[in-house]
């Protein structure tokens, strides 16, 4: 598997949407390719308008940093700041024309060789309420294409 097709993206969105609906939180989910460019985005009925761009930017951030946005969020946490000013991750804030997101809910998609081939992001499910969060929604999304892995 070298790249994500529109068909795979739709399959991921369907599974992720089902998971978000189960949680009872309408949300937006985006799938991007290895360039961080949108392949497909859906905003479920009732989800706020801002969730679309946030989900796109989360997916982009995951591809750009090759790490879940959860990790990015930890990097700017004041408690993780080093002993000297600037040794933390605050400088990340202004990167990528302000498109980097520091909210959990965006994960990179890797192939069998651990190469990043895309990303998936979700916005709309509050974190820490119940067992479902934006992160578990995106995990449900990429679990839907498990049979593509060799």
């Amino acid at each position: 598997m070298e790249e994500i097709t529109l068909e795979m993206a739709e399959k991921m969105l369907e599974a992720a949407e089902r998971w978000a609906a189960l949680a009872g939180y309408p949300s937006s989910i985006a799938v991007v390719d290895k360039a961080g460019a949108v392949i497909a985005v859906h905003r479920m009925d009732g989800a706020g308008p801002m969730t679309t761009d946030i989900s796109i930017n989360k997916a982009f951030s995951a591809v750009y940093s090759t790490a879940p946005t959860l990790v990015l969020a930890r990097m700017i946490d004041p408690r993780m700041m080093g002993p000297t000013p600037g040794s933390g991750g605050l400088g990340l804030l202004t990167q990528a024309k302000l498109r980097l997101m520091f909210i959990p809910g965006g994960n990179p998609i890797r192939n069998g060789d651990m190469k990043v081939i895309g990303g998936i992001g979700c916005s709309g499910v509050p974190d820490g309420v119940g067992e479902i969060s934006d992160t578990t929604v995106v995990q449900a999304g990429y679990a839907a294409i498990y049979e593509e892995y060799d």
Binding site: T5, L6, A37, R43, D45, T52
Partner: protein, 137 residues
């Protein structure tokens, strides 16, 4: 009936079907009546900028309640709208053909934007997408 994700998906599906028949690759975006994105799909191998261009066209069609190609007439120096492109109130304004308002009867419930082919091809895909969905009503 307002815009919802089911209608948006149907419009996009019909549009992509039409583009495929024409041998085109493109992006199709659907926005609601306020111009906010509801769904967007980019076909395999469609260029990256088509994503934002399709979205801009859909925004323009939905908020101006007219095809994006009609916006060009505001550029006439004799018309009162001349110069509105310099006001910088929104990055999404475009005059490229390929964005049409989605209408339920007389009411505009959203917009659809297509980018990927020539201007004529994009408009054809838009029309086919809307015809496939609203013929059924």
């Amino acid at each position: 009936m307002g815009m919802n994700i089911e209608i948006a998906k149907m419009i996009i599906k019909a549009g992509i079907q039409q583009a495929r028949e024409m041998g085109n690759v493109c992006s199709v975006a659907v926005v609601d009546d306020r111009g906010f994105l509801v769904a967007l799909h980019r076909m395999d191998r469609a260029p990256i900028p088509t994503v934002d261009i399709a979205r801009d066209k859909a925004w323009t069609a939905a908020t101006f309640r007219m095809p994006s190609s009609d916006i060009g007439r505001f550029g006439d120096p004799a018309a009162p709208g001349f110069g509105f492109n310099t006001q910088n109130w929104n990055d999404r304004l475009t005059t490229i053909p390929g964005g049409l308002p989605v209408q339920d009867g007389d009411e505009v419930i959203g917009g659809v934007g297509v980018s990927g082919g020539t201007a004529e091809e994009d408009v054809t895909v838009c029309r086919a997408a809307l015809a496939a969905v609203f013929a059924a009503d």
